[in-house]
Symmetry: C2
Subunit: 134 residues, 2 copies
Amino acid sequence: MAGQDRETGLKLDIKFDEHGLVPAIVQDAATGQVLMMAWMNEAALKQTLEIRKATFYSRSRNKMWIKGESSGHVMEVLEARVDCDQDVVLLRCKAHGPACHAGYQTCFYRATEASGPMKFVEEKVFDPAKVYGH
Amino acid sequence: MAGQDRETGLKLDIKFDEHGLVPAIVQDAATGQVLMMAWMNEAALKQTLEIRKATFYSRSRNKMWIKGESSGHVMEVLEARVDCDQDVVLLRCKAHGPACHAGYQTCFYRATEASGPMKFVEEKVFDPAKVYGH
């Protein structure tokens, strides 16, 4: 069965969505921190595995981009994993700088409860205006 | 600006996709291991935050499901975070058992390179047939 092969087999057979994309989670391999999630098309996944720098596909700009291209905050891929049904990618990375363009180590810098305002749960580690310009 | 509020503000304002869904990453808060990713609609997110058990929306079955409903492998939510543009949720959980129905602690049990077969990088921790039946 194709479904079983995809789950139990060792052939890379990513299930891209109707837009030809797959979500890719970036995790700091040293700290375990989940840094960000972005989308890849087949070419971005191929490039990521070849050059070992996390490469994504921007849905708004309709183009591939290497994370850290402008900031220098490259995510060096130490290990790439796929989930059971091969519709999610996990990149375990060496983070060459913070992940989030908003100035935090991780994009997940706010926590939410069932009600009430969210809370900031991370410290800013850089000034985006200095890295990206105004 | 609405875009800025979503990034810098403290109001929960999830950007659901065209299907009304948002991806939710489950991380073991104790070990840092990324366990799985699944999808939530607004009702599943609300329920997750209220009952503190990871609840998702199944796209194939068109219904909400509580992770661990049948296996007992519930993901108890210790902290829920959102990313900068509020289109991804991260649940930091106490895992009451393995996450993957295939018998592994994490759904990410295979690693891939640019070419060649993938490799199993996790040990099986339970027999799915015994937990879920045949």
